[in-house]
Symmetry: C6
Subunit: 267 residues, 6 copies
């Protein structure tokens, strides 16, 4: 990756509405460069939070969407073929470590369990990354920090972080915000008025009670913002909710009826 | 892929007969660049719909038939070897994001579950695609939109989209059109008269009732068009139906008898 | 593959003895370029039929023996390394589509289920093949047609075509020919007299009744031609039948006795 | 592979003692270039037989020891990198087909089931081998024949030839020779006198009765030749039998006792 | 890897508080270059111990974090492409063997069981490493020693070292230190006073009793150091313990309550 | 690999104490170049024996530690990229066959079952190795012999040699030596006096009785040499036994107690 991390700087303040002491705790953790784990369901604002903190701390942020096919080389780097033979190219983790960015591994549990082992030497007091293929022992920049996200409702026996990985991180819990806060967020992000936002949050709250009773996940804040943004373009509220809150998450007719009538209750 | 997306422009209006408010909802979704998911059984017109919308919105359309062996690199791009070393080549997703096309991932559920993770950063407010191998953080063109198709009768425990993927899309349901509309489509596409088209639709309706009772899928609109096109060349209706409606979808003798006698009822 | 398809033209009429209206139906299907699926047991003449039709329609025929290790690139093409860097080479499917051949995918069910997805865009009204690695959207030549073969007794839960693939094809059933026709074929192909050919067909008919009762497949027409050709070189009929009809298909002593005594009944 | 097949010619007559009409049947099969399958237990002389026939027919013989990791490219050929880019190199099957050798695929059932599909077009009347990567349709040399070996006691549900492969071959059964013939072979190959050879064959006969009762395979002719060759160097017969007949095939103490006492009975 | 091992020298004495005779035993083992295995739970100080010994023995230390995807080539080395063709690059194991470092394979049980076979020739009296791809038989430098770590609570039936590997190592047991020692370590590493450190150790002791009763692993010394370091920055003790001791290792509400009340008992 | 096998010559006589007629039997087997299989538990001296024989017969010895990831190319050879294109490099098996070394495949059962098939043509009377990728039929040097090792207590249903492989080898059994012989070996190799060596062997004998009753393998001769060598450096006998005989092979507390008290009985 490029030496110039300007593209990874967060130039505009990302809107983030704190729900507890998470901002202060993260600042303390960053001050000792403690590796951090953000826990919580999908779409509740973990990614937004880390963007906000990167903006606040004025550090570049390199985000990696983890997946099963990701190899250690995808994180660390590899040799590329060049006109003059091979040329080393740092991967996102090495770039962040070398130049002092916050490296955010999103949904780290999706990566092959043992690929995560490559981050271990960066998470203890050595703060090094062995680039074995290059023969370099990269010492992390003083500004470097590693952050991972993790959805606890998600992991299965096959996919969980190893204890020896978990113990290397401090952890912050995230969840959907309280009613008033969430409505404020939806209104702020979409431009709908607070009354519509309140109704959308109420629908979401009903759906979240169905989690585990036919729904794998509740309706997230992100989905409410989708609904609000369609409504803001002039789509009828019921149609907007159908397209953004109901149809995407279930194909079960009974569950659709239940959600549709929750929508009808409020709009 | 080439910078020139002219080959991907839909020059002639694709015939599409709306069944409800799907055209308006899609236009509203596109106006806020909301990622969209088209749900419905095989052969009911999802691909035709997205071609129609691309034509209507005057945007190039890049279609990717997803499959299990597709890697993230197939979507994002890779380095190719050149006389002067390596040269980066955008994949279809990167091409669409860079130059402002609609990118349509057909049967996305066939792709490895975690390959789909690469589309996440394009589906939230960041609208970026990290080209990690190239070290570029590609910001999507303002015209770019991502659309996926999804057959709900299809997914198994092994193959389903993750909740964190589903929640990133608005969704539109598709199904076989009503009798009169479907007959109109068959007649329009094949040149058979409306009476023959009506009969073909009636046969399909009988077969669709057998779905789940010995048939995995009903007879689709696409198959009716196949039958009509053979009839239009002069093949006898019963033979045409046998070749296009019955033989392709079942080898079970009883089921074949049932379908053959449905054909005999109408022709 | 080479641009010159002369090697793929069928210069001499392949002997084919029609059993019903399959030649006419195929001609009608070809006239509208409908993708076709040839269904039937191994060795009953599907490959011979498609060669005959290619000869009759005066189109080059590119045959691909599908297998589990076949990748999409094997069908579509790949970049090869050259003195001047990389050079694109069309695969057999792209060659057929570009230059207007009939592309015959033999035993398509052997291919990985999702590899077959690459043929989808060639089987609907778009008739295109996206060469994603090359960045080309190949539009099929007007003469191009795709044909697949499929053995219905063969597929298992693990290996079957997807419904969304099946629905893209018209289908023709094949089976072993009737006694007189099959004897005529055996005599024609091997030079044995019709009396010997009749006996061979009678043996095959007995064996075919054992299918599912200890034999996985019956004795095919192809095997009878093998037996006849050995007899024609002067080998004793019983020895020829032992080598070509019995020993290849079973190692079970009882089944071998049953088949050997069927041979002894006629010779 | 090299164009020059001289290294593959069998210059000295390999000793082979026919047991029935197998030599004549093979000659008739070769005269019509029928693909042949040699069936029988390990070490009973299948490889020796095909070497003998290649010598008798004065054709070069290319032997391929099949294995699970063998790819189609290992048989067909591949592009190699050269100073001037890539250069095609025929694999053993293509070499044999191009220059007219007998190609012997030893233990073909070990190859991945679908790798064997690549030999199909060479086994029917087309006698072609599509070199898809090279874009060449190789027509087999008139002298080319394909021969495979197959151990029927071996195949499992997971590893068996497909019916559509089996039906493409004539088959010859092989087994351990009769007592007198086998003793003659052992004496001829090792130089021990006929009395010792007779004793070794008697030991083998006892062991073969244990097949399926604690032994996976009996003692093969090859093993008797090993025993004889150690005896011929002056090793005591019991020690020689222990090293070559007993210790290699079983670690079960009871079975070792049974075999050791069979040895002690004769020596 | 580079010939220059200076980057791998441990320049500053790593803090290590011995608990028994492990330092002396290791020195004796090193004096005969006996391969050593460090056994114990995650985060109890195995890595720190080997760093301390490398510092004490004044030998460079090359650490490899083992993982499932690690190949023998990752340890041994590989050819890299260069302007002048290929160039051999030693892997970390070959570098250590060639130049006389201590090679520490961390969490060796994560490596594929048979990858560990490559270390065998370095662990017996031959002390060689065959670089098969390079055609070199590398004889180990007199200073070279191999050390592995191993978490006995970790291995499953699928993942355990082979007996033939285990028998090649001397072994030292590690565990969490006694209360007073552990408190001393926490105070020394974080700067909190001994009273706070004592409380943190007491919390850990309670949690360690829950191992196997709802917790997969106890709270490690490393985690206590994390807690202490947050407290040292001014974070309230309960919040610091929540972030570093409780949230990372469990999502079970009852277990969280149990741990939280253990925290509340002491702070 | 290099043409020069000097690095593979065994220059100093490796200490080996024969236990029966294995040296003479091996010499006879080598005189007819019979492939040999050395059977026995881990650490009982199989590798030492083959080194001793290579020294005695004055032949170079090429040892390959087999593993699951070893491919046929790792044994046979491969093309490497060079300034002038590709260059063939013999693998260890081809090197041994070409230049007349003894090739020792250690723990051959670890290799993928079918990789072992590549050695077949070298083990029968043809004594050839087809280098299929190079197009060369390599005839083995007259001095070449192949030797494999095999631990009978080890193989599982998944990992065993095929009968058709086993039958190609003569076999020699190995086991731990008798008390006096083993004590003599331990004293000779470590320098401890014979009394200490006797005690160590007595401890091992007790442990070997536990094999199958809680221990997977007994204490090997190699481990006794480890214990002796620590004692020789001045470590207390009990501590030395703990580190080298007990801790490496079991983590079960009861088993550790049993072994520790066996140690205490003698020291």
């Amino acid at each position: 990756m490029s030496d110039n991390l300007d593209a990874y700087r967060v130039s505009k303040e990302p809107y983030y509405r704190p729900v507890a002491d998470e901002v202060e705790l993260y600042e303390a953790a960053y001050s000792v460069r403690m590796p951090m784990m953000l826990k919580g369901p999908t779409g509740c604002g973990k990614t937004r939070f880390v963007e906000h903190m990167a903006w606040k701390l004025k550090k570049p942020l390199i985000t990696v969407a983890c997946n099963e096919d990701m190899t250690a080389s995808d994180l660390v780097g590899r040799f590329l073929l060049d006109a003059n033979g091979t040329r080393w190219q740092d991967g996102p983790l090495a770039t962040a470590a070398r130049h002092g960015a916050i490296c955010y591994l999103d949904e780290v549990v999706e990566a092959r369990q043992d690929t995560t082992v490559v981050i271990h030497p960066l998470t203890d007091n050595r703060r090094v990354l062995p680039l074995e293929k290059k023969g370099e022992l990269l010492r992390a920049h003083p500004d470097f920090q590693i952050v991972i996200s993790y959805n606890p409702g998600y992991q299965s026996l096959m996919k969980d972080l190893k204890q020896s990985t978990k113990q290397r991180f401090g952890a912050l819990d995230f969840n959907y915000p309280e009613h008033a806060v969430e409505a404020e967020i939806v209104a702020h992000e979409t431009g709908v008025d607070i009354e519509v936002a309140n109704k959308l949050v109420s629908i979401a709250e009903r759906a979240r009670n169905l989690k585990g009773h036919g729904l794998d996940e509740g309706i997230s804040t992100r989905m409410l913002i989708y609904a609000g943004s369609l409504i803001a373009t002039g789509v009828a509220a019921q149609a907007a909710c159908r397209v953004t809150l109901v149809r995407p998450i279930t194909d079960d007719p009974d569950m659709r009826d239940a959600l549709d009538s929750a929508v009808a209750t409020f709009f």
